[in-house]
Amino acid sequence: MTQAPPAAVDTAGVLGRPVDRVDGTAKTSGAVRFSTDYPYPDLAHAALVCATVARGRIISIDTAAATALPGVLAVLTHENAPTMNPPRAVTLLDLSTMAASSTVNVLNTDEVHWDGQPVAVAVATSPEAAAEAAALVRVDYQASPSAVDFDAALPDAVEQKNSMLAPAGGSKGDAERALAEAAVSVDLRFTTPGHNHNALEPHGTTAAWVGDELTVHDGTQSIEWTRRHLAHRFGVPVSNVRVIAPFVGGGFGGKARVWPGTVLAVLAARATGRPVRLLLTREAVYRTVGGRTPSVQRVALGATASGRLTALVHTSTTLTGRAGGSPEQVVSQSRHLYAAKHMLLRQSQVTLDLLPNTSMRAPGEAIGTYALEAAIDELAHRLDLDPVELRLRNEPERDPLDGKRFSHRRLRAALEVGAARFGWAGRSPDPRSMRDGRWLVGWGVAAAYHPSWQLPAALTLRLSADGSVVLRSALHEMGMGTATAQAQIVAHELGVPFESVRVEHGDSALPSGPPAGGSAQTASLAAAVLSVCAELRGAVHALARRSGSPLGRRPLAGLAARDGGLFGPDGGETYVEVLTRAGRAHLDASVGGGSRLRRFADQARFMTRLALDGRRWVRAASGAHFCEVRVDPDTGEVRVSRWVGVFDIGTVVNAKTAASQLRGGIVMGLGLALGEHTLVDPRTGRIMNANLSEYHVPVHADVPELDVSFLDDPDPTMPLGVLGAGEVGITGVGGAVANAVFHATGRRVYDLPITLDKLL
């Protein structure tokens, strides 16, 4: 099943070129506007009051002192807030229902479902007055018994059947028996803590009502979902809601759903009749926006003496909130990575009275690959086999679990190229055998793996008589370089200079783009861009025919898009010439569409393709990480000193921005490996380190040069061959670091993050 080759000839060489971002100048001059940078006359400011019990009921709420403060416009609680519709139940028949982050109708209920749930919002003429008012609200609760301790709840875990779009587990043969009979085996338990996205831009919203029409500037990864969610919650037609988000200050999954801050800004604007800005404090982000679930994992591997896997067991337990959350596909990569004869994969969940968990960069695989890859490393150690060699020996021809074909698979090449770039052959195999002065040096390797998706997208394209091209779609720019990459694809497909293409994005007034999630945006848009460009080329050809251009006499199939027009072997015409002769100012083309029917059709097509694709083949981005650490033998301090990552992300549209995305994933993976840990008080369910001082994300000094490269080999089943680069980078990083630390110290850490106390 290969797609027809693109009709355009890449004369400009624009596809894959590391062009600078189209928004680079704006981002380095302060010209870019984020959601709380928009001025409005009479703008009011809001601040949240968060619950201090994990479960219970508000018995009284005293807002007198807060309301009396100068500048305070309103203090909204469940007693006086306007009514909202409760969030819709999530259904796959309408993906926009996934916007609901919880089932709770905040400020329309006296019930409390997690420590941190907003129970009031103060609105004032200044941010200082709003914050002070919020601090003066006194709430009395009747607490109910609650379950907030993940470790204590583990015995109550129940099996999880699905992880949203994929099956949760699977089995083949009798893995436990094969494990018991294996010549060499490991049976290991790993734990990973909760994590928070910590996009540098806290969640922020500016909301303004004019009558029943709502304009919202919101830091969101899913403009269309947000729009539909808000229309439903506030009982207005979808067409009355406009969501504007041309630039978002990082998301990583944390801005994919609609969290209470967005809804409450809109509510506050409705109640006060003024435009309202709500920029969450960093603490409020931790209290009201879910993060990555903690996990407990078992990975057991059995092998023959020569290192052929006979058994692979990977099970996980994660948590979800009683009021919502999303399933975490922790064992997903273990279905696909190694050719084990017998397999058992299972996921379980416990339900707690905590803030709903949510997707965070490579949900599941980010932590699942840590455990799997550390276990593979331990097995290699016990087999006395090089860990790269062990992986190569178990590289499957077909999907190990069910024998499906891989759409393409280049993991072997990634491992080999990476090993050569890193100088892996120079590794002395024994732990604690490499030193540099007083530092213990260790080298580790791990595989990266992330499935590839494609979502429906709508867009329009306009070609003007001056040769300029405008692509319009409500696509998201959170740093991925989306507009830049899509402009490159348009330039390639139409054979026009990159500079002549402009992309309008980030506004629900434009045709709806796919949500920015699952590393799917580039490929999803690429599919739509390919078809809209084909449509436009057809329209140019038809116009040429009608207006007596010599181009019209040649069949379209024999023409190539290049040099700003359509050309055959014996010449052709530029778009400018065709449009000018026909007296047309511009030509338009579109794919997807706003009508309800079309949306439904797109969605049905999406679900069908998902099912068909899933039945036909296994498709993923993959890669290999090679890591060098230095460990101080006295203090246990770990420094990452060298990194090589080689990735198969299919076609690379922009070598510069793709490398940045992969590096960004690795950096976040370094945080996961060495520092990040959301600490939840097991008695109260309250996050104890809700700030950037005590939650340790990597800083400049933690990150060495990251040597990132691609195999740049198109996937034959994806539009333009693109597999997606947003998440694969973080997968495997925890494993590579843990393995390097083991090699340096002889100590295997089974509990992330690898802090120095665990090495002493």
């Binding site: 302060g30 709380t36 200044s126 200082e128 806290p202 630039f247 960004g664 950037l692 800083v699």
Partner: protein, 161 residues
């Protein structure tokens, strides 16, 4: 209420403020200068970094009234080769930390030129060379959650004298 006067990006401005208003909120909310960003409001991320009389400060930890009579430069007022270098080296993704990174880097280069040592400096006497290790140490107050650190360091290295 206190009245303050400052020069912001070369323009004389004045504002009536409560003493509790941070320089960051004075700029962003009162004066409409939204280039400096708020990432934490607690001095932990560097997104709010601006230059005051040429020195880099965290404007979220500064009260505006302390800076009465000062010369404040935010990203909007910066015209520096670093900006183009950031674009060339892809020293950002989302761009939210970028105003702070650039202002911080300008302040940092001046500190270094004045001979200030850092925690990474081996010998505090004598002018330390601006190695990558030095740059990383001196820029570690500016978080980039998108992880554009490599590009930022490369941009600074290219522009450093």
């Amino acid at each position: 209420m206190v009245e303050i006067r400052m020069r912001v990006n070369g323009a004389e401005v004045s504002a009536e403020l409560e003493a509790r208003v941070s320089l960051l909120d004075a700029l962003r909310v009162r004066l409409g200068v939204t280039g400096p960003k708020k990432g934490c409001d607690q001095g932990a991320c560097g997104a709010c970094t601006v230059l005051v009389d040429g020195r880099r400060i965290l404007s979220c930890l500064a009260l505006a009234v302390q800076y009465d009579g000062s010369e404040v430069t935010t990203i909007e007022g910066v015209d520096h080769p670093l900006q183009a270098a950031f674009v060339r080296h892809d020293g950002f993704q989302c761009g939210y930390c970028t105003p702070g990174q650039i202002c911080s880097a300008i302040g940092m280069l001046a500190e270094h030129a004045a001979g200030a040592p850092s925690a990474a400096t081996e010998h505090v006497a004598g002018a330390p060379a601006l190695t990558r290790t030095e740059i990383r140490e001196r820029m570690s107050g500016n978080l980039c959650r998108c992880g554009a650190y490599n590009g930022i360091v490369a941009a600074i290295e290219e522009v450093a004298p």
